[in-house]
Subunit: 233 residues, 2 copies
């Protein structure tokens, strides 16, 4: 391929991460887990939580809108209310499974709301004034997407601090809205359980429990066009 | 706070990242940029692209559903078709701005579709069979959210490889669907420009261009309840 705009190749590249630093980042990415067990009760120090939230806040956001909001929850009583909302949603969710799959579902550990000393309720302003609407006319969901990027940053930062994060999605967002007094202009995006852990499992819990296996990268990567199977083929 | 489930505190914690490794991860997170300029024409080696895609594929996913799909685009002709779709969407998007803001908009560099040697179109199966529906009954959007987590992993991995990523959201998803022959059961989530760069800007381009400033972390973090302002207050 010819160089573009009159420049000559090879050009000077920014390469400011050495091999050890690159390896650290890849290890954080590979060893991150969705943690539901193994939380220890040790308090999360404010300065550590601050670092992890700063990492979230450094995420990309459409138009630099930074539409994420984080409610840090430590009070036991509040976490008990959230746990009750989880239990209700989980009873309903479990009904779609039958036979052996139902048995497996019952054995899954799905949340650590009470065991993790810190919970974080993540919100999003889906129509932020910050950013002046840049990039959201054709893809209005990008404010929401920015908020998820922030969550993934938080997850990786927590990992290197020795903290696990578990994302609880078996919960009615309206129950969370009521508990946390969230006004209508903010969306409820995620509920995270955060805390130090005894260990990070070498494999995802759902693999170990026989719920689902991992697919190969080659099954999800295509060249130039979508070449995958149609559903049902 | 008392220890839970009969355990004694302080407990043994997993702390397997040393200070230098932690610093590397935080630096990747802080110095990641949404890159639209500074791409160089150097080819991205297949093994480097593989590492970056492996990082994406290691993202968390609801029920281990791994619902992301990646189309790797290198052909110039295809990127030109995408660039034409961007130009059309951008002309429409620019019309909402007037006066000085319109002038600033015109001066923004919003994409690097032709300059970046690799583009990636990111898709999502929003109703995956993989994962057996776990975690998606109360929050069906979580398959989409998983795909965004994968994008953020990719972004950070690219950063440590010296590659920039630019997310182009000013584009009609249906134009991308047509170009890449994407079947109806997959959603068009993102279009990314990926390539080595001359430099990573110290600040986001939108800050430098005077489009938008960064907000303080304290403006987006709340304790125990949502305590922020209602819209318009």
């Amino acid at each position: 391929m010819p160089p573009f705009q009159g420049e000559t190749s090879p050009e000077v590249r920014a390469s400011d991460f050495d091999a050890a630093e690159r390896a650290a980042v890849y290890r954080a990415i590979r060893s991150r887990r969705d943690v539901r067990s193994h939380f220890v009760s040790d308090e999360v120090e404010p300065e550590v939580l601050q670092r992890v939230l700063e990492a979230a806040h450094a995420a990309p956001s459409v138009g630099l809108s930074q539409p994420w909001r984080f409610i840090v929850v430590r009070e036991r009583q509040t976490r008990e209310a959230v746990h009750a909302a989880f239990t209700k949603a989980n009873e309903e969710a479990s009904r779609i499974y039958t036979d052996e799959r139902a048995e497996r579902y019952r054995n899954l550990r799905l949340q650590g709301i009470l065991e993790a000393p810190v919970n974080i309720c993540v919100l999003c302003d889906e129509n932020p004034t910050q950013g002046h609407g840049l990039g959201r006319q054709t893809m209005p969901q990008t404010a929401l997407y920015s908020t998820i990027c922030a969550i993934q940053n938080l997850w990786l930062a927590a990992r290197v601090e020795g903290m696990g994060v578990g994302w609880v999605s078996i919960i009615d967002p309206n129950a969370l809205r009521k508990i946390f007094e969230v006004p209508a202009h903010l969306s409820i995006v995620a509920y995270l359980c955060v805390g130090y852990v005894r260990e990070f499992a070498s494999e995802p819990d759902l693999v170990t429990a026989g719920w689902e296996g991992r697919t190969a990268l080659s099954d999800v990567v295509f060249n130039e066009r979508y070449e995958g199977r149609e559903r049902g083929e």
